[in-house]
């Protein structure tokens, strides 16, 4: 007998919220806030990679676009953090919308490398070309105002805000990927030509997904800017793309729980393991090798496989 648990989205939101509240209690609120922001980034990345099958080596561009859009707004106009978040999302969406028509025409390695190339360009612009505005290597130190009902200077309040943002992102993506749009994304991932011949303009849907992915990544970037009260070129650094890719692979691509689990796992490894193992990146590399050869579906994917085989055998 197979036991099926249907998640309409609400169940997932509750589980995620409880999970992070427990994690925050067990570790620290500030660190858990970091984890949450990174998980939002992984969700944005995985929409493109896990659900549509397009691996990007340059998603830090959108994270950084959101971070810099929010940071520049706060430096030069309003210090309202909610407006900064909105502008950050719009910044990432705009970059995705402009680059999308070029990028989504590519597939495979070309897609990955075109994104990396654009990320490099963005990094250069932030570091050198627009240093007068972005602060160059030093970045921008920022002060955010408190809104009457939202004192973001209080770590617990900001933790609550980011957790709300993660739950919102999860719920949105859950509804999206469970909808006919989600079915189409999986069809494009599997065989784009066949999807075209059923009558879909797959280019349009790939572009829309690219913009959504870049917007969510920018959302994470804007939150990161508020969290740290600064923005600098590390927020758009192309060498950091490996973090989000690792996280998606560790957790299990193409699954929302997998993206969150992968995000948390990666952050736990990089934040805690580093204390005990000097070359923790080597451990990460070895872990990835094991995952790729032995546990291809990632942590969550393998949990699901074991669950299914146990419920089907009645064990």
């Amino acid at each position: 007998m197979t036991t099926k648990i249907r998640d309409s989205g609400a169940l997932g939101v509750i589980l995620i919220a409880l999970g992070f509240i427990l994690l925050g209690s067990a570790t620290s609120i500030h660190r858990t806030t970091d984890f949450i922001i990174f998980c939002i980034f992984v969700l944005g990345f995985d929409l493109l990679y896990g659900h549509m099958g397009r691996l990007s080596f340059g998603h830090m561009l959108f994270f950084g676009s959101g971070a810099y859009a929010a940071g520049l707004l706060v430096r030069y106009t309003t210090t309202n953090p909610l407006v900064a978040i909105l502008v950050g999302i719009c910044g990432g969406a705009l970059v995705g919308a402009i680059l999308g028509p070029v990028v989504v025409r590519a597939t495979g390695a070309c897609f990955a490398l075109i994104n990396l190339a654009f990320n490099q360009v963005g990094y250069f612009l932030a570091l050198v070309a627009f240093a007068k505005f972005t602060g160059g290597e030093d970045g921008l130190s920022l002060t955010f105002s408190n809104i009457p009902f939202l004192n973001i200077a209080n770590p617990k309040v900001f933790f609550g805000l980011t957790l709300f943002c993660l739950c919102l992102t999860y719920y949105f993506l859950k509804r999206l990927t469970s909808s006919p749009y989600g079915i189409l994304l999986r069809a494009i991932r599997e065989n784009e030509t066949r999807a075209q011949f059923i009558g879909y303009n797959t280019y349009r849907y790939k572009w829309i997904t690219f913009v959504l992915s870049s917007s969510i990544s920018a959302f994470a970037g804007a939150l990161a800017t508020i969290n740290y009260s600064y923005v600098n070129p590390s927020f758009i650094d192309p060498t950091r793309n490996v973090e989000v890719i690792f996280a998606a692979l560790i957790g299990g691509a193409g699954n929302l729980y997998g993206a969150i689990l992968g995000g948390v796992s990666y952050m736990l490894i990089s934040n805690y393991l580093a204390r005990y193992i000097p070359r923790w990146e080597m451990f990460l590399g070895l872990a990835l090798l094991v995952l790729v050869f032995k546990f291809r579906e990632g942590i969550w994917g393998n949990i699901i496989s074991v669950w299914k085989s146990r419920t089907q055998t009645g064990g």
Binding site: P180, I183, L184, A187, R194, F197, G199
Partner: protein, 230 residues
């Protein structure tokens, strides 16, 4: 006349795959394209379906030129292509495969599912299973059923019975014969006994061109007679 292909040439790079193709199809007719491997049968279907652009010539569908149209536009005009390789979206469930085909046509998903269950009632128990678990015959029936969603005007079917057992071939043949008269079809088929039972007319293809058109039912019904032309 529903379909008219006039003086069609198709190249793969510098190699000419089709030359001077002329054929026509009336509403409700079934024509079969017969020929040895490499004759250009699949290339012709793919060109009509929009996957390949002709270097010369025209394709008129319902008196409108469609050569050079993208596949999704051709599909929305009412031409559906059933590929030779019987590939479904294997990571989607059977139901999702059907839903995906229904949405662009605006046909209700429930009607689409009914359509497929009419063709193959046993698909009912497989609806929520992943399509990769289907047998070759079940996939072919799903693909044909999916192609019928939205009531297309023309089906292009590439080797519907290839690699299938005799029992399944008979089921698929029954499905196609039931559709005769209601739906126009261009079918590529190597199995001449199946051609004999399906076709109103037969085009024999050789080396990228039409060698002969056979519209005599007496000749078509004898697969031996058809084989003589190959």
């Amino acid at each position: 006349m529903l379909l008219a292909v006039n003086d069609l040439d198709v190249h793969y790079g510098h190699a000419k795959a089709l030359h001077n193709i002329n054929l026509h199809l009336f509403k409700g007719e079934v024509i079969c394209m017969v020929g040895r491997n490499g004759a250009g049968k699949t290339t012709l279907l793919k060109t009509i379906a929009g996957f390949l652009k002709p270097s010369q010539g025209s394709i008129l569908f319902d008196k409108k030129p469609i050569q050079g149209f993208v596949p999704e536009k051709v599909s929305l005009m009412g031409i559906r292509y059933v590929f030779q390789d019987k590939r479904v979206f294997s990571e989607l469930t059977v139901r999702e495969n059907i839903e995906l085909a229904a949405y662009p046509t605006k046909e209700k998903v429930s009607d689409s599912i009914k359509r497929i269950l009419n063709l193959y009632p046993r698909m009912d128990v497989l609806m929520d299973s992943k399509a990769k678990g289907l047998s070759g015959g079940q996939r072919q029936i799903l693909l044909i059923g999916r192609a019928l969603i939205g009531e297309p005007k023309l089906l292009l079917i590439d080797e519907p019975t290839e690699g299938l057992s005799a029992g399944i071939i008979e089921e698929i043949l029954n499905v196609i014969v039931r559709m005769k008269g209601q739906l126009s079809m261009v079918i590529v088929e190597q199995n001449l006994s199946v051609v004999s039972r399906m076709a109103d007319r037969v085009y024999i293809m050789k080396e990228g061109g039409i060698f002969k058109e056979i519209n005599d039912r007496a000749v078509i019904e004898q697969s031996n007679a058809l084989e003589a032309y190959l």
